[in-house]
């Protein structure tokens, strides 16, 4: 189990784009992942309000989802997004970090299903929610 967690953590730390956005993994285990991204003026989508662009939040939710798949107890060796459907409920409050909390709630031999929610400091009112399907690569050719 520790190996799975270590592998998942390394998987995320090696993602150049995750580093570029200063994403930090704060919780990981049993198919659940929590990743925080600090507020960054470079990621603003609307200069009039300073609200983060939805694309940056998509990138955060996609990363958290991949992390959730990677730390699922079934131990996938690699994963890639098949599809992601995102609902944007409200603009993230400018100046606040955004956190994505992802849960890999079901896996088959070759597919992992994920639910993910993005929140700012007011966790009771989500900024965005998404569901996705991911590939689940297996070590011993089980997926083939």
């Amino acid at each position: 189990m520790t190996d799975i967690l270590t592998a998942a953590r390394r998987f995320i730390e090696q993602i150049p784009h995750a580093r570029d956005l200063n994403m930090a993994l704060t919780e990981l285990g049993e198919g659940r992942a929590r990743i925080t991204m600090p507020y960054d003026p470079r990621l603003v989508g609307d200069p009039a309000t300073g609200v983060l662009h939805g694309g940056a939040i998509s990138a955060l939710m996609d990363t958290a989802s991949g992390a959730a798949v990677m730390c699922h107890p079934s131990g996938p060796t690699s994963t890639a997004t098949l599809d992601l459907r995102i609902d944007y409920m409200r603009p993230a409050t400018p100046g606040q970090p955004v956190t994505a909390i992802a849960e890999c709630h079901h896996v088959t031999r070759s597919v992992a299903f994920v639910r993910v929610v993005a929140v700012d400091l007011d966790e009771s009112r989500p900024v965005a929610m998404a569901t996705g399907a991911f590939t689940a690569e297996r070590a011993r050719g089980a997926a083939e």
């Binding site: 784009h17 470079r42 989508g45 662009h53 990138a59 459907r85």
Partner: protein, 172 residues
Amino acid sequence: MTARRPAPEPAQTVEARRDAALNWLSGGIPYVRFLDIRFDRRGDELTALLPFAESRIGNPMIPALHGGVTAAFLEVTAIVGLAWSTLWEAFETGRIDPAELLQGQTLPPLPRTIDFTVDYLRSGLPRDAYARARILRAGRRYASVLVEAWQDNRDRPFAMGSVHLLMPDTAA
């Protein structure tokens, strides 16, 4: 006493003004600059370009573009494409003078994403990517936009997006 029709502007002036308006629209969004997304214009048709950079990688083993970058690229293409089509119509009908718009500096209110579905068709290669948006419907309040992204081969898209957006308040 017939009103004399003003001489048509030289084509270059018109095109230069349109390009300036496009640069102003896309260059005014910090996140678009962060991803270094550019827009190539032929008439009213836009092609978005995402130049490859190491920082766009999501899986260093393959290596492949980050799925989030791909999603962001599609979403930016949809938003700018929709905003551009609205502006274009306003320019052509003379409702807005692009020269005045450029002096005003502030961006017009942009459409806001309601929801967004991305299909990842194949892994994004470590090369430049291109995307075009097709506006399926742009009503007064809601719009539906389809976006397609490809790399080396136009007939082999690597991602497709379907975006629903809320149109900006145009009361102003």
